[in-house]
């Protein structure tokens, strides 16, 4: 009997504003494994999907940036917990997408889960590392603290479909930004499944928005979008990266240029600080008594 059972195919959908819409355009494209065998259809996002994602991300920025760093860390840790529970699914998807053996794919997924935990720890520690009090010659307290940049568009790495993806999303949201990520064009399935994990991890809707499709089609409108504050070109090829950087110049977006990265190595805080702005506050120490500062 079990031979006669029809397997249930999964409909992969976008993750925008905490919901799972199809592409507004109704288009899909075929996703194959590394040997060319059909795996599933993925939504082929349009510029309008990108625009909707920006609206969703903008709506989410206030609440997410305003949440305490501790709370953001707890939610990022929760994502790692949820991923752990669906480890096998992701191992299967990564193995198919990247043509890896089960054990190598497992190593990738484990590293990705560990990366969430690593960035979860950073949320309430980064301010101590890159912020602090500054010595000034005057009766002022002078305090610098890192603040999120806002809405960040990310072109995810093309080769490393899951570890690379997590390595670019996690630092952006750990810093309090909202993100619109364009998944790897050839292997978007792990990214689209990650949306299902994020939706069940107490992450407010709109903080992470995942689009699949052609980066060359979607990314230019995000790069030119006046309501996007920064763009990470990690997965853009040289030609696309140049075009995107030109488009991004119009509203002075922060741009993180593509660079060769070993995603399995310890990441450091560079990607965190790339999307943080330093806010410096001068605060008078108060009335100066006869003996000098009252403090």
């Amino acid at each position: 009997m079990s031979d006669a059972r029809l397997s249930v195919l999964k409909t992969y959908k976008l993750f925008v504003g905490g919901k799972f819409p199809r592409s507004e355009s109704g288009r899909v494209y075929e996703v194959t494994d590394s040997k060319g065998k059909w795996l599933a259809n993925a939504p082929l996002s349009s510029r309008k999907d990108a625009r909707d994602a920006v609206v969703a991300a903008r709506k989410a920025t206030g609440g997410w940036a305003g949440a305490t760093a501790y709370n953001r860390g707890q939610i990022l840790y929760r994502i790692a917990e949820m991923l752990e529970g669906r480890r096998d699914q992701f191992i299967g998807e990564v193995a198919d997408a990247e043509g890896l053996s089960k054990s190598k794919a497992a190593a990738q997924v484990d590293a990705a889960i560990d990366r969430w935990v690593w960035y979860a720890g950073w949320t309430d520690k980064i301010a101590q590392v890159v912020g602090g009090t500054n010595p000034v010659a005057g009766p002022f307290f002078n305090v610098s603290s890192p603040e999120p940049t806002g809405v960040v568009a990310v072109v995810a790495p093309q080769e490393s479909s899951f570890l690379g993806l997590v390595s670019v999303i996690a630092p952006v949201i750990a810093g309090g930004n909202a993100v619109i990520v364009i998944a790897s064009e050839a292997s978007p399935l792990p990214a689209l499944s990650l949306g299902e994990v994020l939706a069940t991890s107490d992450l407010p809707g709109g903080v992470v928005n995942i689009l699949s499709g052609r980066a060359a089609e979607i990314a230019p409108s995000l790069a030119a979008h006046q309501d996007v504050n920064a763009i990470d070109l990690a997965g853009a090829d040289a030609e696309l990266a140049k075009a995107l950087e030109i488009a991004a110049a119009d509203n002075l977006k922060r741009v993180l240029r593509p660079q060769p990265v070993d995603w399995s190595a310890a990441p450091g805080t560079d990607r965190l600080t790339a999307f943080l702005e330093t806010k410096t506050v001068w605060h008078p120490t108060g009335s100066l008594g006869a003996g000098g500062s009252s403090y």
Binding site: R51, V54, R58, S221, A224, H225, Q226, D227, V228, D250
Partner: protein, 372 residues
């Protein structure tokens, strides 16, 4: 009964052969795609604001002669098919408006806005800021049309009138104990007279929903007539009267149709959906119903009445749907800000962002419009 089916088209100002403003900047990518600038239309010869309208309405005097006659007339109006109405409103909402048509519609919508601030916290400064925005909605693009009017509370009329003096932007004022309308008639009339004396060009009155729902139609009718009379200025001109039904409180579509006829019979120059202060405001369906009412009213009496949906219209997409409703229901003669208005505040920013998108090719953001 005089009929005016062959009136001269009221619409003017954008003949097809007219060229748009020249492209600026030299870079054709950023060339404006606006074919025709939308300007304030001159008031048509055929206007419902003067005494002429009152004379035409005299032909309907028999139905408003007594409470019983008015009730028989209003309850004799054909019943509304709610499913059909909503289906038609939804179907007309699916039209795709693109490129030059969209550019034209956006400019038209901007020119139809009654830019509104009706808050307890309104200050003279805020009203002046609103007026500045009505006069120059997008400081980065002076081709942007002005809004039709600013809409404020009566005590802010003088401030607003001073701020828009000498321009074609009108000052509209809510009156008659807006938004609830729960006050004695002399208070409502004093409220109205105050606003007119302070320089209001248009009065937005609320009907007494309590009386309407209790079936006292004639008292609602007499109240609208009294307010209309109060809209007259000493020099013989009159402020245009918009009558707000608060459709969200009228319970049924049949009631909206009855209220529309009641308001028009009493001399409304505009019928308006809502105050914007209740849960359900302007919807495509209730606006479609009111558009049908003004169409039928003109067919019956020859008097043209404007329509103003208000409240809850926030996006360009919504605004374009309403314009489609107007065009498909009453036609081009209503497609000007003399006959159709949007009561809105945040809608303007969305229209401006869409306008910037069309002219630059880049999606705009809320950082590039003024926040009221």
């Amino acid at each position: 009964m005089p009929r005016h089916f062959h009136m001269k088209s009221i619409k003017s100002g954008h003949s097809p052969d007219r060229k748009g403003p020249p492209a600026r900047g030299g870079d054709t990518r950023y060339a404006r795609r606006y074919a025709h600038p939308v300007t304030m239309h001159p008031p048509p010869k055929f206007s419902s604001s003067g005494n002429e309208a009152a004379e035409r309405l005299a032909s309907m005097a028999d139905v408003t002669a007594s409470d019983g006659a008015l009730r028989r007339f209003l309850h004799g109006l054909p019943g509304v098919d709610p499913v059909g109405l909503e289906a038609r409103a939804a179907a007309l909402g699916t039209r795709s408006i693109k490129t030059t048509a969209k550019a034209y519609a956006i400019d038209l919508a901007i020119s139809m806005i009654d830019l509104t601030t009706l808050e307890g916290a309104d200050t003279p400064g805020k009203v002046r800021a609103l007026c500045a925005k009505a006069l120059l909605p997008d400081p980065t693009d002076r081709d942007t049309p002005r809004t039709a009017a600013v809409c404020v509370y009566p005590d802010m009329v003088a401030t607003a009138a001073a701020a828009v003096a000498g321009t074609d932007v009108k000052v509209a004022s809510v009156a008659t104990a807006f938004p609830a309308g729960r006050a004695a008639l002399p208070v409502k009339l004093a409220d109205t007279a105050d606003a007119v004396a302070a320089g209001a060009d248009e009065i937005d009155m609320v009907i007494d929903r309590g009386a309407f729902l209790a079936g006292r139609y004639l008292s609602v009718f007499e109240e609208i007539k009294a307010v209309k009379e109060t809209c007259r200025r000493p020099d013989g001109t009159a402020a245009r009267l918009k009558v707000i039904f608060e459709t969200g409180e009228l319970s049924t579509y049949d009631n909206i149709r009855r209220a529309s006829w009641l308001g028009m019979l009493a001399g409304a120059d505009f019928i308006k959906t809502s105050t914007g202060k209740v849960a359900v405001n302007a919807t495509p369906a209730n606006t479609l119903l009111m558009l049908e009412a003004v169409r039928d009213f003109r067919a019956a009496t020859g008097v043209q009445v404007g329509v103003k949906p208000a409240g809850g219209i926030r996006t360009t997409k919504d605004a374009l749907k309403f314009l489609v409703l107007v065009n498909e229901t009453v036609g081009e003669e209503w497609l000007s800000n003399h006959w159709f208005r949007f009561g809105a505040s945040s809608l303007l920013n969305d229209l401006l962002m869409q306008r910037q998108k069309l002219s630059t090719g880049r999606y705009s953001g809320p950082d590039y419009v003024t926040v009221d």
